[in-house]
Structures are given as C-alpha cells and as structure tokens.
C-alpha cells in the first residue's frame, strides 16, 4: 500500500482559484516577554470558556498549564540557572556540529527581519539566570494526525493550508485527540476522564459554546477570510508571534537563528521548519532556546498515519490468522 499521508499540494488544488498561499506563524521565543496578550486575545476573539479553577499552578508565571479545548495559545515559562543555560548552549552547538541541515543556506543581505533585533523588549538575561518564554499553539502540521484520523470529515485543510474543525460536523468521537503528536486538540466536555475539567463553574458561570466537540486553534479562519491577521499575532506587542506566508516565515526564522548564532547564542534553534521531519514540517515554526521537551514539545514527533499502511497489513494478517484458526478448530473438533 502506498503512503496514506496527505499530499497537501492536492488539497490546495482542490480549492482551485480560491486557494491562497500557505499561511504560517513564526514564533520567535527569544523576544517573547511573557505578557500573555496572545492568550487573552485568542480567548476573547474566540469566546473560549475558562479553563481550570483560576488556581496558581506553581510553574513560574504559567497558571494556564497547557493547550486544550479551551486554551488555544499557551505561554510557557521556564526558569533556568547557569547550569541549564550552559547545557542548552552545548546542545545547540551539537546540533550545528551534527550537520543538522538548514533548509538551504540562509540568504545573505540585510539585517534580520523587522522586530527581530534586540529591541529592548526582551527581559534582561544574566549569565546566572534566564527565563524562557514561549507562546505555544497548534502546529497546523503539513501531515496532520488529527485530520487524518477524523472519521466524520469535521477536520479539514483550509484554502490557507491550515487545519480546522467544523463544529457542526464533529460528533465528539475524540479520535483526533489521540491522533495529534503535539497534544493540542481536545474534546470540550465536563469531567469524564480528566480531573481538570471538574471545575466549579458557579462564580464564573458562562455559556459553553460547542460542548462535546473537538476544539483547537482555528488559525483565526474567520479573520483570514476577511484578510485580517490572526488575533494572537496582531496583539503581540513584541512581534514575537509573526504571521505571513509560510515561505517568508521560514526564511525569517532562518535569518534570525543565524543572527543569534553570530551573537554567540548557539542555543538558538528552529522547530518545525524542516519539511523532512515526522510531520512534514509545521505551519507554526518556532525559534527555541533549549531542547523542545523543555518547553513541553515532543522531541521527535511522527504523524502516526505514516505507519498506517503497515498497521493495516498487520491487521489483515491477523484477521486471516483468525479465520484459519477457526477453520482448524472445526477440523480438530470434528475428529473427536
């Protein structure tokens, strides 16, 4: 059986003249100040319900926790001492030495993209201590596990190359939740499995839109069709969240990482820019300052659909084995 992962060129062709260029985010965590304006803008624009019980989670300034049905942007805060900073720098140097490729040499000429320089908004890092802050979001994968496994067709590839749920189609089967290698999409429901949703709603009671269906970042589809910038990117005061055509985003990301390397920040690296990775590259490219798992990102995500042809083959073999076993049983059973 040939590959079952999506050919995004065909998906784009399906839109014919309506097809736009593939849109993407480049999230430059090196200039994120952790203001969470993106989280707020996303909540407001999409009218997403409250998550959790307004508790202090004991994880630096992060009291949001993680991405989920009601949280489509999540700002991570990591506090690191001298030791960890050194280790991050070392692991970044190793990446360079391994010859982990860039997608091509970064094109020369011109300083970094607008807003990319040290523009005074970044928190003052010292040699002894630093804060990592990163605004996480759905990756809008080239090969999206969530989309592949959705049985109803509720999840679809938009004309902007992004991945979106149709809330009126989704029947809440939850398959997509397991299909996502990044733990992004989630079903919006009240405490069946997870303690976190056992929330006391009374004081902050609000209407919950689309209950029982899968929810995640829509890439502000409703804004894109109007030629607008997604709410999170538009609100970001430091331009840490950049939005544009994917090609431009990857290009900017590569220039920025080269610039940081020149400044001796070898810990800088890109996440999601490689079209050969396990998900075919992402529509949300990140510049990280440590290993991905430090930010809660998987170090080697792989869309499960890549192995699906083999899984089907095994299932067919198992089914044949079962038929043979039943047949054999009747032969053995008849002899008595």
């Amino acid at each position: 059986m040939k590959s079952l992962t999506e050919d995004t060129r065909l998906s784009a062709e399906a839109y014919a003249e309506r097809a736009g260029t593939r849109k993407a985010f480049f999230t430059d965590t090196s200039i994120c100040i952790g203001c969470k304006a993106c989280e707020v803008a996303c909540k407001e624009w999409n009218r997403n319900p409250q998550d959790g019980n307004l508790e202090v989670l004991g994880s630096s300034y992060d009291n949001t926790g993680e991405l989920g049905a009601n949280t489509w942007r999540h700002v991570a805060f990591v506090e690191q001492d001298k030791d960890r900073i050194e280790k991050a720098r070392e692991s970044g140097r190793k990446l360079v030495n391994l010859g982990i490729p860039s997608v091509g040499p970064p094109s020369q000429g011109g300083p970094g993209p607008a807003g990319a320089g040290q523009n005074g908004t970044a928190p003052p890092d010292t040699a002894e201590f630093r804060w990592l802050m990163s605004s996480d979001v759905c990756k809008h994968c080239t090969h999206a596990g969530c989309l592949d496994v959705c049985p109803t067709g509720a999840l679809f590839r938009t004309e902007y190359g992004t991945v979106k749920v149709q809330e009126d189609i989704c029947n809440g089967c939850g398959t997509c939740v397991g299909g996502c290698p990044f733990g992004v999409i989630e079903r919006r429901d009240e405490g069946i499995i997870r303690a976190k949703t056992e929330r006391a709603q009374s004081q902050y009671a609000q209407e919950i839109p689309n209950p029982g269906t899968a929810n995640k970042c829509t890439f502000c589809y409703d804004r894109l069709v109007d030629g607008q910038t997604p709410a999170c990117a538009q609100t970001c005061p430091t331009t840490s969240i950049k939005f544009g055509d994917r090609e431009d985003m990857v290009e900017q990301a590569r220039q920025r990482v080269a610039e940081l390397h020149k400044q001796g920040m070898t810990e800088a690296r890109l996440y999601g820019a490689n079209p050969n990775d396990g998900v075919g590259g992402t529509g949300s490219v990140f510049l990280l300052l440590d290993e991905p798992e430090v930010y809660g990102l998987p170090p080697d995500p792989r869309v499960p659909t890549k192995d699906l042809p083999r899984m089907y083959k095994q299932a067919v073999m198992a089914a044949s084995g079962m038929i043979a076993a039943v047949g054999l049983s009747f032969v053995l059973g008849a002899r008595r």
Partner: protein, 323 residues
C-alpha cells in the same frame, strides 16, 4: 554510541493527550471481538451442520454487536450525531473504516439473528408477507457477517495504534494479533457457556489456539517496545489486569480442553475466558491512557530513536534544526 537519554519535561506535564475514551470503549472492544468471533463460529457450525452451536453463536453475535454499538455511541461527545460517522469514508481513519465494518456487520447479524428468533418462537415474529424475504436473505447475510467478522476483530488494532499515544502506537505490529486472539477466546468462551457439550468440540479447540495466540502475541508486543512504552502494561492497575487476563486465559483454556466434556466445568472455563478477554481490553485501553499522561513515556522513546538515527548518520529528518 547512543547516549543515555536525559529526561527533562515541562513541569512534568503531558506532551500528548489520550482520546477521551472511557471504559465504554473497552466494553466495545470486548463486545465487538465477541461478536466477530461468534460469527465465525456460526459459519463453521453451519458448514459442519452443528445447528445448536450455529443458533447460539448467531444470537451471541447480534447481542454483542448491539450492546457494543450502544457503548460506542454513548461515549461520543455528541451521541445524536452518531450517523455522521457514515457521511464519508476515509481510509486514513481506522475509526471511519471501522464504522463501516461495524454497520455492515450489524446489518447482517441482525438478519441472521432475526431468523433464529423466528425459528425459536415457531414463526411467531409479526413478519407477515416479509417472512420469505427474511429467510431468503439468511444466506447472503451469513456471508456478509462472516466476511466482516475477522476485520471487525482486528481493525481495533490500528484504531488504537494510529495515535500518538505512546504505548498504543508502539504496539502497532502486534496489537491486531492480541485482539483477534482475545476475540477468539471470548467467542469460544461464550459458546462453552451457551451450548451443550456435544456441540462444543470446535469451540474447545479454538480456546486452546486462542490462548496460545494471546499469550505469545502479548509477550512479543511488550518485548519489542521501548521499556518506557512497555512499562504502563506492566505496572499499576492496568498491569495487574493484564497479569490476571493471562492467568484467566490459560486457566480457562486448560479447563476447556481437559474438562470441557462436562457441562459445569465447561461453563466455568468459558466464563474465565470471557473474563480474560474483557480484562485484556480494559488493561490495554487504560495502559495507553496512562502512557499519555506521564511525559516520560513520550519523551524518552522519542529521544532514544532520534539519537539512534543520528548515531547512524541520519540527520535530515529532525524537527529541530540548527538553521
């Protein structure tokens, strides 16, 4: 040399999420397997002219698939939209493929079981002129269920494995074999419970084959995983369930083979085997959910495989790049 992976995470929070699947889904896995296995038994019984076994297996198949479907629908976030499962067919989605298999199987099982009920009640079903139609459909319906029975038992392997849930995904090569063995175990167990011993020799033979398949495929499955992926199958409540599942499977099958000629031990052995199958399903379901909850099960194997590839000189496929 591959370095020992160092483990760090974001405040111990999960990297991937398990689907919101409760014990209804474990029940569905068990019942779907029971239905598929029973349907194959009924076909065999038809070929060998074992009427009682055929009738009981058909009734079991319909009962199981009916209950299983209820469990499945109940676990949806929007049960009233169940039929949306059939608004499209997607080969990339085992859930979609399975929905079609399940629906077609159930239709066939419904027809054959209706015929049996009608015969049992000496044709008292209020069928009127439709009776000949129903009886004419019996053959094709039997063929349809028999054709879809084994796929119904094995598609659930890809259903769980085609996810980012570490333990399920790592089980992808062997899980269908575990599931068909477990299905055969449940179906032969049900036959031993429902059918007089003179008709159950094939079911007894099947229980032995099923138990052997179950134990071996489970062992292989755990062996081939990264230790961090196998751990949830061996520890905690799921680990205990799976340990007992193996004991019950072996005990039940041994009882069926050695004492299956006597009615009471046959019933007891059958019950043990059905219990084994149910425990296997719930254990594997819960082990997967546990594996998603702790980031170690995701990060350690991923780092290990990434480093192994890089040690082999494969450096083009990392999601993290230097530029």
């Amino acid at each position: 040399m591959v370095e020992k992976p160092q483990f760090s995470s974001y405040y111990g929070r999960a990297v991937v999420k398990a689907p919101p699947w409760g014990d209804e889904i474990a029940a569905y896995l068990f019942l779907g397997g029971l239905a598929g296995g029973s349907s194959l038994l009924s076909l065999g019984a038809q070929v060998t002219g074992s009427r009682t076994l055929q009738r009981n297996a058909r009734l079991t198949a319909l009962g199981a698939v009916g209950l299983g479907t209820v469990a499945l629908v109940h676990d949806l976030g929007r049960p009233e939209r169940f039929l949306y499962m059939l608004r499209t067919f997607k080969i990339t989605s085992p859930m979609s493929v399975g929905s079609w298999v399940l629906t077609s199987f159930s239709t066939g099982a419904g027809v054959t079981a209706a015929v049996e009920v009608d015969r049992l009640t000496s044709q008292r079903l209020p069928l009127g002129p439709l009776r000949p139609v129903l009886y004419a459909l019996e053959g094709p319906a039997e063929a349809q269920t028999a054709l879809l029975a084994a796929p119904l038992c094995s598609y659930t392997g890809p259903l769980l494995s085609n996810t980012a849930v570490p333990t399920w995904n790592a089980a992808r090569d062997e899980l269908p074999f575990v599931f068909v063995s477990s299905a055969a175990l449940a179906a032969s167990g049900a036959a031993l419970v429902s059918t007089p011993v003179r008709d159950t020799q094939p079911a007894r033979a099947l229980s032995a084959l099923a138990a052997v398949g179950d134990v071996i495929s489970m062992k292989l499955m755990k062996q081939r995983m990264h230790p961090a992926e196998a751990e949830p199958l061996q520890t905690g409540a799921p680990g205990t369930m799976l340990k007992w599942a193996e004991r019950l499977a072996v005990g039940g099958a041994a009882g069926a083979v050695l004492l299956g000629r006597y009615r009471a031990p046959a019933v007891a052995s059958g019950a043990l085997m059905m219990g084994a199958s149910a425990l296997t399903r719930i254990g594997i379901l819960r082990a997967g959910i546990a594996s998603a909850r702790d980031p170690r099960h995701t990060i350690e194997p991923q780092k290990a495989r990434l480093q192994a590839r890089q040690a082999d000189g494969v450096v083009h496929d990392s999601i993290t790049t230097a530029g």
